[in-house]
Symmetry: D2
Subunit: 338 residues, 4 copies
């Protein structure tokens, strides 16, 4: 079987290298091009790839990608930059799985509100499918443009979906207290991610203002069939990778823990990458994998507490991107991911 | 001025060594005895004390402590053990600052419910003063027995006290999402604290069942003047020390962030170890100190989010113990602690 | 093609879980049995395997393994225990890849000297092949019993082999200064590996007395064709995994760095898992892989400094075990390992 | 007693904040000025100082410092910058303790060779005293300009001094294999110190070319009374602070471990900050202190192995600076440092 030629756009960061590692194991994909402003061999940017991938970074040139036979491009570009690169690719018939935030929010006004700039490509927003296979799975196979979901939102969405789809919790004011490893901040050196600053340290950031908030609300409102609002607080954990979300919701009626666990198991039946647990999830159990582990608890006073864990670079970004790729090109959903 | 002779009971753990380091800097204290079942020189148990403290551990013997002129004992014993050691000390006129949980809960029935054993010394429960100087400061100077507060509870209590004292938030169902460094789990090797298990990992534990819950509720109910209930979820952070609590409360009326910050500043005026901030606290800013940093935010939807950080071994245990010692023996509140 | 049925002996530790993860990806292996004294489902011992491996641990019973069709057993048992399990397996025609130290040293007297107990199975010592494919590759395919190499020794041996095979450095008193992540200490909780003890800490241990010393010397003496002696100092690094060795040797003649690099490249040509670099290796470049990265430098004063890095659990244990398995059962050397 | 007014030059980095914390505890010092190009309150640069130091950074102006009554300036400036600031201070009678490398090497040609630029202030080189109290203690009290020693060199120098002073080891080709926490790299964000790059990673750097090499050799040659040469290899450890050096030397005659330990004890008698141990030092035992722990071992083959540990920011920089300050202004050597 011929491998599908893929391009990785913006090859210098953490999601890009994670993606390349997954694709190198994938039986049906071939990394045909890696673009970057850095004119270097890929393995010089990422020494872990020494001996694995013999490619030099090239400038972004959609015609050249087309000429190489690239059928799909994974965008690992920053938001704002991504929406410049996507239109010329789509115009040339190259499908795009965009890992940036640019095509996740349906309403350009919401984009402007949270990202503080106008959306430059509103025309393609309508074509974009939010690439969360467990929620929008039926639309992914035929999509030309996938808005790959954010890392934090997946834990909140998959953690709450069974409850909201069944009207079991109040949709307003759900609390999502999330904790992320530092690789979520990207590879550009900045003081908050300087080792002696964030090591042996724990703190919240972007309290009440993190850009993943509207993304969580948009998808959960779809799931619930009515407006959902969350209070979302991200924190930085001194570790490389992993996201853990502790979610607090108020049930609409008295619920039992065992009943909810069954509900989750039924909701995620046939979804190979969501593991419903009765023990407490931990990020390390999911490290380097595409699994999202979830448990649901009922505590004193009747509150529902959902615990969700994932690897932010795999499940939270590059792994789910390959899961989308598998659906788009007819591979088994788990190809390259186990 | 003659130094006050003190004993450290249970000298092998982390709170004990932290306490000894503080006391070695204190102008008015002298460590006259360290007790432990381990028959070793203190500096062999804690090589960081090499050349600092020339004492050998001795078995616990209240008469011997009395004979040495010990006026106060700091109890660094496990709960359950502590309430065996306290009565003979009090009987001999040795005051006690107990860092265990044994004398924190006023009602022995609540102790039994959460600690799964009967309280052996209910008679002394009534004498015990909860050693949180910012709340019970007027009672500490004359106390014979101090129940030194738990590490997590201090962040929850001091984080919420100004709001509850003023009736500004609903007293039921307040969410306290706390994160602690691993030293909070003590020095006895156990699998959850084995380096390759908890390093590069993040998870919740004791969801809905942590023993600090009734302690938080007891003190906050005192502050509020009516019953307060919390949903408390602790998490383990891969770092040595530090606690960060993210607290979510529902205001009883519309509130503005600046108004609340002013309220906190007024409430903690003259309290040298609570720092009210407008920036986001971080555990590292408090590392190795007795400071508890707190900020109060009002977020989308009107929820109040309080952020509180401290060092779990200093402020959360041994530092506040010395703060209590200072009040008990007439030293300036900050002696040995800056 | 039918998969080769394998057993994992001693399934509760870190090398076992790493091995199972590799085998689950291997196209030609099937994990047919996992033995342990712990009567639990494998995924309860290792939650990362949830949904991956549906096996319950069973007691060690060589007849039962034979009946299941197991053709090779990977021994992840402690030294001392391993040499009890190996003979009954070999007797039943089950080949063994032993990850313990029990069959690495040819001379039982040397075993007794370093491991402080007599060897119980000297008869099989002669059958054992030291499973370092880059050195003893021609003997592995037909071996019945593989003594899988130690983690530290591989960095020392592969770091020095090209020099010693060519008589380019003095064979006596070579200095091997090695640093290892904490998983090398195993999964049993002990104070030195308790998080608050080893986190934010760096120290040497077993100075002048580590048991990997004779193993390094035995193999390097084979390579050199004359006795080689080393001063080996291991250190503990506050990280999960990875070994880095800094090796100091005195050249027998004036040498140039470029010449040595070429020598290394020639020596390791066709060896897919040794990467000769001109940049400085780092453990993270090899994390989770079977690669051993090596660089050779000539510094002021003419000393040769070799830098070698590997993942201690993969290359240092379970990965090289699968590399041996591949040679023993006719799979490509890299099967399951890229 | 009137406190000595001091200035801290270059207040934004790690050695500066560490120094300020020590000085705030010092009974005889007053931080009268902090200079920086960053026009901010000191506590905004270093939130750990909130409530401790109410000073705003000011531009460097020697006249203004003089007018404020500053008697000594601690220079926490980068090398190259420091030698611009020192002459005007000395000209105004302000003594300087320079924590940069600018005045450590006696010979400007050596400076140029290793720092790749000409020395701008050779005139003052002759006035500078290398501020290692255990070696040059008699010259420090009256010095106008102290070249505060480097972090790595102190472990190498104090680790080897007793041996070299007594001619017990060969002076050529001594191997110093050193490992440092990341704060040694400073506070400016750079890729090698970006958390996800250096966390869970271990590697050597500057192999054969680190600038501390000539400093080590210069001082050890003084101690030995003849030229000493070292092979110095630094490594980066994923921890905040701490340096551990493993030193390999060849004895000039047969030596016994106990004999050497006694020699070290005699050599460091009366030196309060060097702790000679028979157990293995660990960086954590010295964390946050001015102690340098050292042990000497004799291993197989007769090699001498010295193990030395310190806190790189305290003993390695700001602590020893205060130790020098104490000698310069007549305070007890341990003032502010215990």
């Amino acid at each position: 079987m011929e491998r599908v030629k893929v391009a990785v756009l913006g090859g210098s960061g953490y999601t890009a290298v994670e993606l390349m590692k997954i694709l190198l194991r994938h039986p049906g994909a071939e990394v045909a091009a890696v673009t970057s402003r850095q004119d270097e061999h890929v393995a010089d940017l990422h020494p872990s790839l020494l001996g694995r991938l013999d490619l030099r970074c090239e400038p972004f040139d959609p015609d050249r990608l087309k000429a190489k036979g690239v059928r799909v491009a994974f965008g690992c570009l920053p938001h704002g930059t991504s929406m410049e690169a996507v239109p010329p690719l789509l115009d040339r018939g190259i499908r795009v799985i965009d890992l940036s935030a640019d095509y996740r929010l349906r309403d350009p006004a919401v984009y402007r509100e949270w990202y503080k700039e106008a959306h430059h490509d509103p025309a393609n927003l309508a074509r974009a499918v939010y690439g969360l296979p467990e929620v929008y799975g039926d639309r992914i196979a035929t999509a030309e443009l996938i808005a790959n979901p954010g890392c934090y939102p997946q834990t909140a969405i998959l953690g709450l979906a069974p409850l909201l789809a069944n009207g079991l919790v109040e949709p307003a004011g759900i609390i999502v207290d999330s904790k992320s490893g530092v690789s979520g901040g990207g590879r550009t050196p900045k003081l908050p991610f300087h080792f002696p600053e964030c090591n042996e340290n724990f703190a919240a950031y972007s309290v009440g203002s993190h850009r993943h908030t509207p993304e969580i609300e948009q998808v959960l409102s779809d799931v619930a069939g009515r407006p959902v609002s969350v209070v979302f607080t991200p924190h930085l954990v001194p570790m490389d990778r992993g996201i853990f979300s502790t979610i607090y919701a108020t049930p609409t009626r008295s619920v039992a823990e065992a009943e909810l666990t069954e509900l989750y198991r039924a909701y995620y039946a046939g979804k190979p990458f969501v593991r419903v647990r009765t023990t407490i999830p931990a990020t390390k159990d999911t490290a380097g994998t595409n699994f999202l582990d979830v448990a649901v608890k009922v505590v004193r006073g009747g509150k529902v507490v959902v615990l969700a864990a994932e690897d932010n670079l795999v499940r939270g970004a590059s792994g789910v991107a390959v899961q989308n790729f598998n659906r788009m090109f007819g591979f088994p959903e788990t190809a390259g991911l186990l």
